[in-house]
Subunit: 470 residues, 2 copies
């Protein structure tokens, strides 16, 4: 990495076209015919920028001060603490994890402290008691900073973790406990801000218009990243760069709009699965971040006019080349029900040569003299070839290199694509009403006051028959 690579990422949709992929593809005429809808979606998204739940479009532009505060805080954390633990779930966990894995060493926590240059890093996004115990086994709580992230402060999972950790901190550290917790939450609303003020925690704010799955570029993601020595300003610059590239309503110019339109047209044809398959271990968890963004934004049962719909592609996380030995059999020979997005890397951050040592075995020896870089790239191209040959819709995003600038671009690309696709589907991209039923049922099952009716409703449900449990 001689010069920091700030080239644009590219979106290649050749293999979404009939001329390349065959029958399942689209013609350029079909895309042109869809332009009208695409322009409409573009305008709706543009008109919504910065309003309601679209505060995330402002994040590359309006955080100068908070970035300075975050960087200063991160510096102090690196000095004082050996462990940094995020307590959060959903967007509060998936964004920090994706960025951590993409930029930091792939075995970061296993490095000696001198090579890490930052605290060990854990993201706790579940309420499995076995996991909580496991965490407590490997951290020294006296040397740990906890970052509690929840906008509302009523996320049961995060607040459960908070209660447990705060109790331990107070028992071990007394009044110093408060210096081991940073709250990232709503400025005014919600519970966590109240608690933070009472207890005296350092706080960072989640803007009102930024929902969980669109929050990585606000303090939710920026603080953990900065603690890990990740260059958050460059990440925001990358996002800004992509935002500018998506400022035109012409889908043949605006990459996120073209990507959205292609997925929309594919969904209309019944392609109900969206596979993300990065060819880089550093992007494995990026696919998890995308899965929430895509699934929760587009999986809706009502359109904006109140009509019933049941739409949404199911996101599938895959990893190249690993999942060639797991999923590609299905992708090539299985149903015509998916769009596969390959993500490649022009330049890996290291090169590994494949040495000689197998001269007598031709079926292995051909590898010798090549590099792992050539192998992984050839396998990506070969998979793309096999998918296309079997007529399966696929497209490819190329990163010049995995770094803060390209990750910023990639995140903004997918957030815009999601917003455009939601507009094309005429749904509310930014709510998640379908999560409420399960939340309320949990409250009822745990006996929360005010949920007696829900408890009754659950009880009144037809009881399971043991005949059907074998």
């Amino acid at each position: 990495m001689s010069n920091y690579n700030k080239n644009p990422i590219t979106f290649d949709y050749n293999n979404m076209l009939k001329d390349y992929v065959g029958n399942d593809g689209f013609t350029v005429e079909e895309l042109k015919a869809a332009s009208k809808d695409a322009v409409k979606a573009f305008k709706a998204v543009k008109a919504g920028r910065g309003l309601n739940m679209m505060g995330w479009t402002d994040l590359p532009y309006n955080q100068k001060e908070v970035v300075a505060d975050i960087k200063q805080t991160a510096k102090e954390i690196r000095k004082k603490f050996d462990y940094f633990v995020v307590l959060g779930i959903g967007g509060s966990a998936l964004g920090p994890l994706a960025v951590f894995q993409s930029i930091c060493h792939l075995h970061y926590n296993d490095l000696p402290k001198s090579k890490r240059k930052g605290p060990k890093f854990y993201v706790e996004d579940n309420v499995d008691p076995e996991r909580m115990k496991a965490l407590l086994d490997v951290i020294d709580i006296k040397k740990t900073m906890f970052n509690v992230i929840t906008k509302s402060g009523s996320t049961s999972e995060t607040m459960t973790q908070y209660l447990i950790i705060n109790d331990i901190l107070k028992k071990e550290l007394g009044s110093d406990a408060k210096n081991h917790i940073i709250a990232t939450t709503s400025h005014e609303k919600g519970n966590l801000i109240k608690i933070a003020k009472e207890e005296g925690y350092k706080t960072f704010y989640i803007p009102d218009g930024v929902g969980g799955r669109f929050s990585e570029l606000c303090p939710v993601g920026l603080l953990p990243a900065a603690v890990l020595n990740i260059d958050i300003k460059t990440m925001l610059d990358g996002a800004k760069f992509m935002d500018k590239r998506c400022s035109k309503s012409d889908l043949f110019v605006n990459p996120a709009l073209m990507a959205a339109t292609l997925q929309y047209l594919s969904m209309k044809k019944g392609r109900n699965i969206s596979v993300m398959m990065p060819y880089a271990d550093g992007l494995k968890l990026f696919a998890d971040w995308y899965a929430q963004l895509w699934g929760e934004s587009l999986g809706k049962n009502k359109d904006l006019n109140g009509n019933s719909c049941n739409v949404g592609q199911t996101p599938v996380k895959s990893l190249g080349v690993t999942d060639q030995h797991s999923q590609v059999q299905l992708y090539t020979e299985g149903p015509f029900d998916k769009v596969i997005t390959l993500i490649g890397v022009d330049s890996y951050r290291t090169e590994v040569k494949i040495p000689n040592g197998c001269e007598s075995i031709p079926s292995v020896n051909f590898l010798c003299g090549h590099t792992m870089n050539e192998l992984i790239t050839s396998e990506m191209v070969a998979t793309e070839y096999a998918l296309t040959k079997s007529g399966k819709l696929n497209n490819r995003i190329m990163l010049p290199e995995i770094n803060e600038f390209s990750i910023g671009q990639l995140m903004m690309f997918f957030m815009l694509q999601t917003a455009y696709t939601g507009a094309l589907l005429n749904i509310d991209t930014f709510n998640q009403p379908g999560v409420e039923e399960g939340k309320n049922a949990t409250y009822a099952l745990l006996g929360r006051d005010g949920y007696q009716e829900k408890a009754k409703e659950i009880k009144s449900k037809k009881e399971k028959s043991t005949d059907y449990i074998i």
Copy 2:
């Protein structure tokens, strides 16, 4: 864990029935009508046991000697080595990873050596150069045992890793290099056995009739597990226990046969997605193992009569409760296109209390006094309730506890379910012809001798237009 829990796992399909889930479900009459096909599938699988690629059915019964050898070898490895690295991909990686995560400490590698009681454990299942470098940064190769796993010895990814590691070992250790590699491979065929004999490696054998995705219960999985102090005999006993429970042709009695029939009927109705959602961090990677088993076995474009088909459900890996904040919005409100399999645990291996500390905030305080165990279980039941209320097909598997016996049961359950489903679909469950195209294209791209024709074919393909790369 006072007594080792050897209770049966259970399969609960109430919410696959119309009476419970509504319109999308099946009636008991429909299931009875499917009995004839189910019996036929059962008989086909039974007749195939131990033959051709169904050697995996014998594994719980015929490995007494090899288990003793593995245990002895594992004991010596634990004594002499600080790191144990699996070099393998596909089934050679997914099985070892699934069992490791389910039985070992959730932050195993972060534990101090005294608490680990075994070497640090890595599974390298990709050819990303960044990952190879990262591995070499954190292991001491002089204290590392490598387990190279490939049946044919011509898996490009694994042999690439082998070449790199063997080169380093020879440079660092000279003739002692051979004591740092164990080969798990075919007894007679293939390249790795030749190399192993030449170099003098300790070897374990993969039976001819055991394919990658059905190999966890042979030395492929047993050696890594034994090195980690996992009780492999009990795991095999669990598999045997499930095998016996599936010895009847009556689908109302044979859990794997009922599970297969329900998925088969769902697929026929267009439910082309199979979600596995365990409510336990210990089972997260189990869903990866399942994804290969299900995807690669059932994703086929020809039936046994040679007719074209393009069948196969796409497996989706999910994690409870984590993915409630990512995927459940889609599962409840999105299309009627999936079957969701929840996996629960009756008894977690630890209990964590949620302490008081939020008396003034009712929306948090209701959690206090409960345990994390109650919370995670309530959330599973609540999600099941929400899925069912929204009419989405779901079923639930319960493990009495995560341990060797239940994991053995679970693996055999899914392998049998897969075999039955393949028989119902009238396809070859055990081949993977769709992987060849990509492999051959890789060979051609890397200039392997004998692949000149393929290289020409690739070159002759319509060249991508830069117009469609933005």
